[in-house]
């Protein structure tokens, strides 16, 4: 026990000897959290709309007015030529253009139908899909409005009195940040923990001090625990600061128990740090360690459900996520913080993490060789 404490103390001394480390470990991630929470927003706002109005009628003006009133759209220009509009998209100044053909109003009144054309830059498929949905909703709205105003004679379809209502639980304001901040926190804690631990043992190998440790009677588990503890503490402190900032700036609700969050984080970190140390034991240089960590991390993060829902992955990819610790922690954070899930609700997650923590760390201890 005492031996472990000596290692822990030495690690702390070394980590904070570099003056830049303190801000890098604690300040940068928090700044990142604040910036990223604002950046990582899938809500589509400020869609740049270009208008080609060849009708110039009351109807077309009314339709354009509806687009102008919608906060999702920004009207960036008008023209009579679809060529010009197309060029604007090409140049990246517009995301889509609405083309109102000549005689739009006349056709509506005389032929009882009209047509419009939307051309959307679809390189970002998701954004294009949403832009299309918003635009169509506005057009539908306009459609029923003119029906009401101009066609009072037309019989309204006899709909049965059935309607669909909906409610959004846990996040009624549909605040995307509430959803993202806990996830981003996981990301930052994981990055810091994995990289610091991953580069640690290998650094001693590179400098040569590991020899001096290996020739002492220290036990392998003592060494691994001594290496793991400092980063475990740092990461937990980091998580606390992050949660506090999230609560302070982003109003993250804490519906469930904070003890549960930290308890799960404690187990989760054992897995991540154990993985880092494992990487450290199988590599020869810090550069190597960094690359291997980076490789696994980026896959872990992309497949974690942090940015894109796991449910929308194909089945084979979903089964891969069962082996992804980051996915478990992202889910637990959101469940406990936002929905108030209790220990029974997340028992499955806890069991999986405990098993993983044990396996990874045993592997790390076994892989660390004092004798070659």
């Amino acid at each position: 026990m005492r031996t472990i404490l000596f290692i822990v103390r030495k690690e702390f001394l070394q980590i904070f000897r570099h003056k830049v480390m303190l801000p890098l470990i604690f300040l940068m991630p928090i700044i990142q959290l604040v910036i990223l929470a604002h950046a990582a927003d899938f809500e589509v706002k400020n869609i740049n709309l270009y208008i080609v109005d060849n009708d110039m009628s009351q109807a077309s003006q009314q339709l354009i007015g509806k687009f102008r009133a919608c906060r999702n759209f920004n009207i960036v220009g008008h023209s009579f030529s679809s060529r010009v509009a197309y060029d604007e998209i090409q140049r990246g100044n517009a995301d889509l253009f609405l083309e109102i053909p000549p005689h739009f109003q006349r056709d509506l009144l005389r032929k009882n139908k009209g047509s419009l054309q939307l051309s959307i830059n679809a390189i970002n498929g998701v954004q294009a899909g949403l832009a299309n949905a918003y635009a169509n909703a506005i057009i539908q709205d306009f459609n029923s409005q003119i029906r009401m105003e101009w066609a009072s004679l037309a019989a309204r379809p006899a709909l049965p009195g059935l309607s669909v209502t909906f409610s959004n639980w846990f996040n009624p304001e549909m605040n995307y940040k509430t959803f993202m901040v806990p996830g981003i926190l996981v990301l930052l804690v994981t990055l810091i923990g994995m990289f610091l631990s991953g580069m640690n043992i290998v650094k001693e190998k590179e400098i040569g001090t590991i020899e001096q440790i290996n020739v002492t009677p220290i036990r392998k588990y003592q060494f691994i625990i001594g290496k793991l503890l400092p980063f475990w503490i740092i990461a937990l402190v980091e998580l606390s600061i992050g949660l506090f900032v999230g609560w302070l700036i982003f109003d993250i609700p804490v519906v469930g128990s904070l003890w549960l969050v930290f308890g799960f984080a404690a187990i989760y970190l054992l897995v991540v740090l154990g993985l880092g140390l494992l990487v450290s034991t199988i590599t020869e240089t810090q550069q190597q360690a960094m690359f291997i960590s980076w490789f696994f991390l980026i896959i872990f993060i992309l497949m974690s459900g942090l940015f894109t829902p796991i449910e929308s992955m194909p089945p084979w990819a979903q089964s891969i996520t069962r082996f992804n610790p980051v996915a478990y922690f992202v889910e637990v954070m959101r469940m406990v913080l936002l929905k108030g899930s209790n220990l029974m609700d997340i028992r499955h997650h806890v069991i999986v993490m405990l098993t993983a923590a044990l396996a990874v760390n045993v592997l790390a201890v076994m892989n660390y060789r004092k004798t070659n």
Binding site: H18, M21, M28, Q32, I35, L36, H38, E43, N46, G92, L108, N112, G114, S115, Q117, L118, I120, A122, I123, N124, G125, V126, N132, A135, N136, N143, R147, W150, A151, P160, G161, L162, V164, T165, F166, S167, N168, W169, F170, P172, M174, Y176, T178, I207, Q287, Q288, F291, F295, L302, T308, P309, E311, S312, A317, I320, E331, R334, M335, K339, S341
Partner: protein, 370 residues
């Protein structure tokens, strides 16, 4: 003479890289894995979302709607509930994302032409998924109602013709290939070089090199040339995957695309060198690259999240991120097929950044030597 020494020096750097098989494997394998993941696994499309049904009416109407929801392919029935209180429990366990509630008097009210309601309750911790699920379900239910009404055509129907430009099938891979390419180039060029140079400093071999007759600038150039080669190899691999596996077009000029990639690689290298002039330990170099380069490159460049949707401050901030300009350039060339006329401004900005980074590194380097 100098050229020969320089050649030998580059050879040494190449040995460093090629001797380390594991890193090489990762550097060459990572782009492949990333592109494949993005192409096959990571989408925002929703299908087979798990929903729960609370059918208190147990009538024909509720059965038909339930069947229709399942038949759409978007939904899977996870559970048939008995009580409202069970909904929250299911949400908390994270099993289902939405519940459909048919009230007991549904059938009766419809029969008597009284107002009736079907309730959709979504777990809105993820707002986008919630919105999408509710929209899908509402549309499906609405269609069911219309069909029961024998589809009376409404007057003054406006038909909207929608054209999806550049990516008619809305493939997300079109969005991600340029992004992955940017991240990989940044990783190989900036992160790798900053660490490679700091490593020589940490191990003390930098002093030895500086004492050699080679000029410091040549030493640095020699150190980065292998990484340029590696980065360009990655570019080719990513482009080939995008083109042959995912059918991503390269509409513009390949030559221009190559030159722009080279420009971005040089900018990133300069940034990596700048970081290494300011750091003494590999860990610090790595953390700086990670926090100040990789995360902003992924998140503020328009790779995953559209820049237009960000707050104004971040939109302004995104201008100092080289990756943003590079992504605009490659999307223009590959997907829109535009030429120099459309990307000269962005290219100029990148060139300016590269020159600035190089200037700052040289200045730092001189200060250190004095």
């Amino acid at each position: 003479m100098i050229m020969k020494q320089f050649g030998i020096f580059i050879q040494k750097e190449l040995y460093h890289i090629f001797r380390d098989r594991r890193t090489l494997l990762i550097l060459l394998g990572m782009p492949v894995v990333l592109v494949l993941l993005f192409g096959f696994a990571i989408t925002n499309e929703i299908d087979n979302a798990r929903i729960a049904i609370l059918d208190e009416s147990k009538g024909e109407m509720s059965r038909e709607i339930t069947q229709r929801l399942v038949a759409s392919g978007y939904f899977l029935i996870d559970e048939n509930l008995r009580e409202v209180s069970e909904i929250e429990q299911h949400f908390r366990e994270g099993k289902t994302k939405m519940a459909v509630v048919f009230p007991p008097d549904l059938q009766e009210n419809i029969r008597r032409h009284l107002p009736a309601q079907i309730q959709l309750i979504a777990d809105a911790t993820d707002p986008n998924t919630a919105t999408t699920l509710i929209n899908y379900a509402s549309a499906i239910i609405g269609q069911q109602l219309r069909e029961q009404n024998h589809g009376q055509a409404a007057p003054m129907q406006i038909n909207t013709e929608v054209k999806m430009l550049y990516n008619p099938r809305l493939k997300s891979v079109f969005m991600f290939v340029p992004g992955v390419m940017t991240v990989i180039l940044m990783l190989v060029s900036a992160m790798m070089t900053s660490i490679a140079i700091t490593r020589e400093k940490e191990l003390g071999t930098m002093e030895v090199l500086l004492a050699s007759p080679l000029k410091p600038s040549l030493i640095i150039i020699g150190k980065v040339i292998p990484y340029i080669l590696l980065a360009l190899a990655n570019t080719v691999v990513i482009l080939m995957l995008g083109t042959f596996v995912f059918g991503m077009p390269v509409k513009g000029s390949l030559l221009l695309l190559g030159l722009e990639c080279l420009l971005f690689v040089v900018t990133s290298l300069a940034l990596g060198i700048l970081i290494s002039t300011r750091t003494e330990s590999q860990q610090v170099a790595m953390l700086i690259s990670l926090m100040a380069l990789m995360l902003p490159t992924i998140l503020l460049s328009g790779f995953i999240f559209p820049i237009e949707s960000m707050p104004k401050v971040l939109q302004v901030l995104s201008n100092i991120i080289p990756a943003k300009w590079f992504i605009i350039i490659i999307k223009n060339i590959m997907l829109k097929g535009t030429g120099v006329g459309f990307v000269w401004k962005e290219s100029l900005i990148l060139t300016g950044m590269a020159l600035f980074f190089i200037g700052a590194s040289v200045r730092n380097f001189k200060i250190r030597l004095e």
